[in-house]
Amino acid sequence: MRRLAPPLLILAAVAMAALALAVGIGSVPIPPAALWAVLTGSGEPLHQTLVLELRAPRALAALAVGGLLAVAGALMQVLLRNPLADPYVLGLSGGAAVGALAAMLLGLGSALVSGAAFAGALLSTLLVFGLAHGTGSWTPTRLLLTGVVVASGWSALVTFMLAVGPTRQLPGMLYWLMGDLAYARSPWWALAALAAAVAVAVPLGRSLNVLARGPLQAAALGVAVRPLEWGIYVAASVLTAVAVTTAGSIGFVGLVVPHMLRLVLGNDQRLILPAAALAGGALLTLADVLARTLIAPEQLPVGVITAMLGVPLFLYLLHRSRG
């Protein structure tokens, strides 16, 4: 019925443009012609190094992380049947932060920090799910409440570690908490996770549309509700864990991007999920360009930019939707 292709092609073009911008802009600007030369294998050695070893991996990581967060947010919104849910609403980023900060306090290297963040995110996921599952009754409200309480527990631990941590480690810890792509080494895991998630989620899109109308209605229309809900929960958690592990806890992408897309494109998950992957990726790529250039040569944590863009935008959307 609705044509899915045109909006997705437009968003794909925007994402490609954002990538090109991110690779071209910096302390040494690379004009489009020089960029093309690099991509086709010629070009100056300095440009080669800048593009292929520094800027392209970081830009691709931003694209992947933004896409992961937006898709995870869109999935959480369907799972909780709440258009204001985000990937962190169930305490996942708190668990990751505790893992990462503990690893930093112990003086571990960046690979181990990432590993500890991933472990913390999954631990938090299991904790929330196990506690919310309880004696069997499993409702979005109960899941949400459990997640919020677990998140405040993590946040107390984070504050504790910041309070006792040595002063020289504080900036690194704060940057991690705000979300920072400077540590993103390899984008390939995140990109692979994003591609896999979209490939699996799009065929399930119509089932998700039905699930958004409530579990009883969905079951009456032939959806296996419980396996689908567990699947969404696990998928959204793993996607968020990969994103947080790659770039720290970047806020607002997972909340604002799906919400804006729903306002413009409607609520067909078959369209929203791939659109969220592209739009989230494009948004975070552009935000990272701003983070690198606004006060160059200093860098801002990209989470500051997404929050500064996201907070007013979201408040405006909320205000408008009430009227």
């Binding site: 049947r81 009456a220 959806v223």
Partner: protein, 267 residues
């Protein structure tokens, strides 16, 4: 046996804290319209959900075509059994046409988009419920009665062989109550089995072929409409004195007594 119908076999619905009461042994067969009557809290909705396979029975079984519901694949069941719910959740905004189209979900494979034929079925269902012209409206902007008719239209698009409808005339004005009851009777005449939870005895008397009376303590009795709609039985069911009268060749029941007198026996 109950081979060709939607059957309750020694079925006890699971309402926490209530004794088992009378197990149900009945079958809704093609062509029949069953009306379930009972006061608030008697378990009408629970029974309907149990017969739809959405809720486990305490004992006994609900079965379709001789096979217990848990042995059906959910999607295969959804092609044969449609449910009009009393409560609706509209988590995300959707249009009227999109909502009617989800009735086609059981017929589509994961990769399929809705075809032109599916859209035609959904549009026709909307038209039969008097919702033509509202296709692009957001569901949230509809009136209560229009939403109720949209729920019926969604199940009509689902093309089930058995209808389970929980108070399908809720929120409807008189004309649309008659239209919806006519539509359900027409479905039965075309070979469907229909079971409705109702609060209006007179709708049940006029359109149902069979009646099931559910009492709050778990007792139940059922049979053909003429045998079941006795004034004393209905008074005991609702704890409310009734007056039966003849109107236009049909029996009608109205509450006895004035609105200001205290209920007899302390209610």
């Amino acid at each position: 046996m109950t081979g060709d119908g939607l059957a309750a076999e020694a079925l006890v619905i699971d309402i926490p804290g209530r004794p088992d009461g009378q197990p149900l042994d009945l079958a809704v067969r093609p062509g029949q319209v069953w009306g379930v009557l009972g006061p608030n809290g008697a378990g009408k909705t629970t029974l309907l959900h149990t017969l739809a396979g959405l809720r486990p029975a305490r004992s006994g079984a609900a079965s379709l075509a001789g096979r217990p519901l848990p042995y059906w694949r959910r999607k295969a069941l959804a092609r044969r059994l449609g449910v009009v719910f009393q409560e609706r959740h509209d988590g995300f905004p959707a249009t009227v046409l999109e909502t009617a189209l989800i009735g086609r979900h059981p017929y589509l494979a994961p990769w399929d988009m809705e075809t032109a034929a599916d859209v035609a079925i959904a549009r026709e269902a909307l038209e039969r419920l008097g919702l033509a012209g509202l296709e692009e409206r957001l569901v949230g902007t509809l009136s209560g009665g229009e939403r109720q008719r949209l729920s019926v239209a969604t199940v009509l698009a689902q093309e089930p062989a058995f209808w389970l409808a929980d108070e399908p005339t809720n929120h409807l004005d008189l004309r649309h109550q008659v239209a919806v009851m006519d539509l359900l009777a027409a479905q039965a005449a075309a070979g469907c089995g229909v079971l409705l939870c109702l609060h209006d005895i007179n709708l049940a008397a006029r359109w149902c072929t069979h009646i099931l009376l559910l009492y709050p303590d778990g007792k139940a009795c059922w049979g053909p409409t003429d045998a079941m709609l006795a004034t004393e039985a209905l008074e005991a069911l609702y704890g409310q004195p009734l007056v039966a009268a003849e109107a236009g060749g049909a029996r009608v029941f109205v509450p006895a007594g004035g609105g200001v007198s205290p209920p007899p026996g302390g209610g």
